[in-house]
Amino acid sequence: MSSVTMRKLVLQIEEIRHEGGPPPARPPVRGAVLAVIDNPFAGRYVEDIQPFMALLRPLGRELAERLLAALGGEVDAYGKGAIVGALGEIEHGALWHAPGGWAMREVLGGAKAIVPSAKTVGPPGARLAVPITHKDASYVRSHFDAMEVGVPDAPRAGEMVLILVMARGGRVHARSGGLRAEEIEGRDGLR
């Protein structure tokens, strides 16, 4: 376990023009980047897994930069996730929390809100709805969302899929009230 071995990288960008209602002047966008990597702990119980987090930081940085660039450099919400192959355990997916969140904050220049996340253990083709919330204030209701992603041939049993999601514009026809983006105080990451 000296480095991260990546088999595949997938980048998915969505532009949402409407969902049956009036099309907004500027369509919301969201994007996901997925890295398929070897799980160095597959097939056995390892107690001390935390050293792998440091190795994931450069990967996180690379993924966050690619995703931000693919979205044109403008993003107001984010999320992250992991799908662990069947020879791994859910705890291996949890290793992505720190490096994934750190990487997005780095490239976004200091986002305040917690990065919402989801993880699962699954077969190749497993889908994950990666939760999304506003990057500076978790309570912004228009930006509560999720993006469903997956890779047809991953994760194989000894692999993990590590995922970052970024978005701009909230839900396309958001009208369920709550805190609005223009009301953000931006002090505590919540409001």
Partner: protein, 195 residues
């Protein structure tokens, strides 16, 4: 003329860096461009499908250009291509045929330069989230064996019953570890679209 209504545009890029433990250098890459459009003929039989053929012409350019742009390569650097459609449950399989076959090819070929070969295609009826394996073949010589492939695409929220999902895929490469012989890229004559 019926105007095409697009609900969603999606691009997906796949980069394969390793396969079977071997490094793939440069990585093989595929890009899919998808559009979710309203099906103007959902729920009724319409004889004349010309509006869908016009949609196909628009989508050939729009999706072809977006897919090539997603790979960030010049059009001439495209290796293989393919197309496909999933028709929502209130439509008809023939609606996919009207979009894909009569007019989509010409603007797609402009987006990839040349394109002497048939554009391989797949179509099906499906619910939101239905996966589609878009078949791939070399754009100038259909018999190039290293480039026979497919890319699976799907969108969790499309096609709804009154929608059609249309996909175009382009690549800058063949399969990651192609080794089953046949016509190779450097043997392409490029005259008849086959060899």
């Amino acid at each position: 003329m019926t105007a095409m209504k697009i609900r969603k545009l999606v691009t997906i890029v796949e980069e394969t860096r390793r396969e079977m433990g071997r490094e793939i250098s440069p990585p093989t890459r595929k890009a899919a461009a998808l559009a979710v459009i309203e099906n103007p003929f959902a729920g009724r039989y319409v004889e004349d499908l010309t509006p869908l053929m016009e949609f196909g012409e628009q989508l050939g350019g729009l999706l072809g250009e977006r897919a090539v742009a997603a790979l960030a390569i010049p059009p001439a650097a495209v290796h293989s291509y393919g197309k496909g459609a999933i028709v929502g449950e209130r439509g008809e399989l023939e609606h996919a045929a009207a979009i894909l076959h009569p007019r989509l090819g010409a603007p797609l070929r402009r987006a990839v330069e040349k394109g002497a070969a048939l554009v391989p295609s797949a179509k099906k009826m499906g619910a939101p989230g239905t996966p589609l394996d878009v078949p791939l073949g070399h754009k100038d010589a259909a018999y190039v064996r290293s480039h026979f492939d497919a890319m699976e695409v799907r969108l969790h929220d499309a096609p709804r019953a009154d929608e059609i999902l249309v996909a175009i895929v382009v690549t800058d490469s063949g399969r990651p570890l192609a080794r089953v012989g046949g016509l190779t890229v450097d043997q392409i004559e490029g005259r008849d679209g086959l060899r």
